[in-house]
């Protein structure tokens, strides 16, 4: 819809100033639209709480509280009381402390793996969409190949190959198994953008392949990628929890998944130690919910603009 814009530009404005002004305006518009969606706000609030907890973990609870050699004196599997708000685990550690430190682990793994997934997925998605012929087909086949790899057996294989099941392995595995989803989405969007006349115009103006992809395809694909990545984080956190729960995680890492694993191992279900089982489970659900709400809101907010173009 046409609106008479009343923006007056002072003369001799540098191109950088113009670009900055434009970015500021569009950011303002985006923020307005996002905060108008209650679901997104709720998700953001929940996430902020957890991020805050994760960041301030060392301030709230000393690292030593996680060291089982330090907690030998405590009662094991004690229900919540004055000293330990969420009770203790089988080694006498404060469950609340482990929980807050676990937030760190889960969020870091989630974000790191999602970052890998986003970068790889976007690069390969745009590449396979832009390059026709052999290169494009090759990238497509690569995507399909990685798409079908199940992550649980991959962890086992990689662990055996790399010799240890550390944090790095987990992040690697999760990143490697979640990028194909993003790549396929990005490829579809790239194909749709490539079909538009302005890509042809860019070509005729002299843009190289790289310039076409970064100046025209990427900005139009980015909103989709961001929305998709937030959803990916949710999936990755769940996957990490699953891996840890199955005992395939890093045994030295205190994530929520390992807590669940240890809880069942310690027989928490049969002894009724709900304070051990419920908190990590609920935290996982809340964080995943937060990311999902944010991701959905991003899609809704960014879509009308995509739709009107």
């Amino acid at each position: 819809m046409r609106r008479a814009s009343t923006v007056t530009t002072p003369k001799k404005l540098s191109p950088y100033a113009i670009a900055r002004m434009r970015r500021k305006k569009s950011l303002q518009r985006f923020a307005q639209a996002f905060f108008g969606q209650p679901a997104g706000v709720i998700g953001l609030v929940i996430l902020s709480v957890f991020v805050l907890l994760a960041v301030s973990a060392p301030l709230l609870f000393d690292r030593e509280m996680l060291d089982i050699t330090e907690t030998l004196g405590n009662e094991s599997l004690e229900p919540p009381n004055g000293d330990f708000w969420l009770g203790t685990d089988e080694n006498g550690r404060s469950i609340l402390a482990v929980l807050v430190w676990g937030a760190r682990a889960s969020l870091v793994v989630g974000l790191a793996a999602s970052l890998i997934s986003m970068v790889l997925g976007t690069l390969i998605g745009i590449g396979s969409g832009h390059y026709t012929g052999l290169a494009g087909s090759a990238l497509q086949r690569l995507t399909d190949w990685f798409l079908v790899i199940p992550f649980i057996p991959l962890v086992v294989v990689l662990a055996a190959v790399l010799g240890q099941r550390g944090l790095g392995t987990i992040v690697l595995v999760l990143g490697v198994t979640s990028w194909p989803g993003t790549a396929r989405l990005v490829r579809a969007q790239t194909l749709s953008v490539e079909g538009r006349p302005y890509l042809e115009r860019a070509k005729v103006l002299g843009d190289s392949d790289w310039q076409q992809m970064t100046k025209h395809v990427l900005p139009n694909v980015m909103p989709l990628v961001i929305a998709n990545t937030t959803l990916t984080v949710a999936i990755v956190i769940l996957s990490e929890t699953t891996l840890a729960f199955l005992g395939l995680g890093d045994p030295f890492l205190d994530s929520w998944g390992t807590m669940l694993d240890k809880a069942t191992g310690a027989g928490a279900a049969s002894t009724g130690a709900w304070w051990y089982l419920l908190p990590p489970g609920i935290c996982v659900i809340l964080v995943v919910l937060a990311f999902t709400l944010i991701g959905r809101t991003l899609e809704v907010v960014l879509n009308p603009r995509l739709g009107s173009e």
């Binding site: 819809m1 530009t9 173009e309």
Partner: protein, 340 residues
């Protein structure tokens, strides 16, 4: 605007030459090779405005794209100022500064996320030209957007159709090209806005000595601004001459039919051809127009004794120069008779 004679001429060194160009596309799903261009000769002089006219499937867009270097020929060549086109990265990029494109749909031609400034500055940026903002201001003014500064931060969706097309034209002008290829420059625009954009193109030809190649199905547009008219059908040129020659005295039955269905031409009885242009993967034998040709169907060809030729003998490809010519067995070879 007063009447004036055509400015350009082909007699001097032509700016663009197309020599026996053949462009093919691989057929889809088992169909044969599609010969989008099946032997085309063309010469465009400096400052000339040439209209490529025909329906969809005739190859006019493919010809325009080949001239721009976007399609590689199967055989034949395209020459710019006497030099054949180089298809390597650097040669092509240098060529882009001299031959530019204005596309049909101004809304689709502009990246919706780019402001007007960025859209026009893109060309100079890619080619690392000096004084980017100066060029943008100049290009926007030349394209009729004044004052240019007021439009810098606007987005395409805030502009009208006519303004968008001017921005696209400015984007092409920012590179100081010598030739502009315009693909249906006004067909997506409102009727009342058409005149201004066409007048702009004429003005650019005069002020900047631009050579223009306009691809269109609109004969009225050709009448408004073109010096020469090239009519194409199924990958070949079927008639070539000055606009007056072709439109006042059409020789080829296809041109006659096209002219007759233009709504403004009601003094001429409409010759509505049956069917549609056939697929360029299945080109008819002999004269490629004969299955739809009214002269063939009405017996005129039979009476002239050339019906066999129409069916089986392929017509020679028209040369690039030589006055008003038509590729039809009914038309004597060489220049068409002078109009009465």
């Amino acid at each position: 605007m007063s009447e004036r004679a055509a400015v350009g001429s082909v007699a001097s060194e032509p700016v663009i030459e197309v020599d026996d160009l053949v462009v093919t596309f691989r057929g889809r799903r088992g169909g044969g090779t599609a010969r989008a261009l099946d032997g085309v000769n063309l010469a465009v002089g400096r400052g000339e405005i040439v209209a490529l006219v025909g329906e969809s499937g005739c190859g006019k867009t493919t010809l325009a794209r080949s001239i721009l270097g976007l399609e590689r020929p199967a055989s034949g060549e395209v020459r710019f100022q006497g030099e054949p086109l180089g298809y390597g990265g650097r040669a092509l990029k240098a060529y882009r500064r001299r031959v530019q494109l204005v596309l049909q749909d101004p809304t689709g031609s502009l990246n919706p996320r780019q402001t007007v400034y960025e859209a026009v500055a893109e060309g100079p940026r890619v080619h690392r030209m000096a004084d980017e903002s100066g060029r943008v201001v100049q290009a926007l003014s030349q394209a009729g957007i004044r004052p240019p500064e007021r439009f810098f931060l606007r987005y395409p969706h805030e502009l009208s159709g006519g303004q968008r097309q001017r921005v696209v034209i400015a984007g092409a002008l920012a590179l100081n090209p010598e030739v502009i290829v315009a693909d249906e420059p006004v067909s997506s625009l409102d009727a009342s806005v058409r005149g201004e954009i066409l007048a702009l193109l004429l003005q650019l030809r005069e002020e900047l000595e631009l050579t223009l190649l306009v691809v269109t199905h609109d004969l009225g547009l050709a009448w408004n601004i073109a010096d020469r008219l090239v009519v194409m059908y199924l990958g070949r040129v079927v008639e070539d001459g000055t606009t007056e020659q072709v439109l006042n005295n059409p020789q080829h039955p296809y041109t006659k039919a096209l002219l007759s269905v233009v709504p403004e031409m009601e003094q001429v009885e409409s010759i509505v051809l049956t069917g549609e242009t056939p697929d360029c993967a299945r080109i008819p034998t002999g004269c490629r127009f004969h299955p739809r040709c009214p002269a063939y169907a009405s017996g005129e060809a039979e009476a002239a004794g050339i019906a066999d030729d129409c069916r089986s003998r392929e017509l020679p490809i028209l040369g690039a120069t030589g006055g008003h010519r038509a590729a039809c067995w009914l038309v004597p070879a060489g220049d068409a008779p002078i109009p009465r």
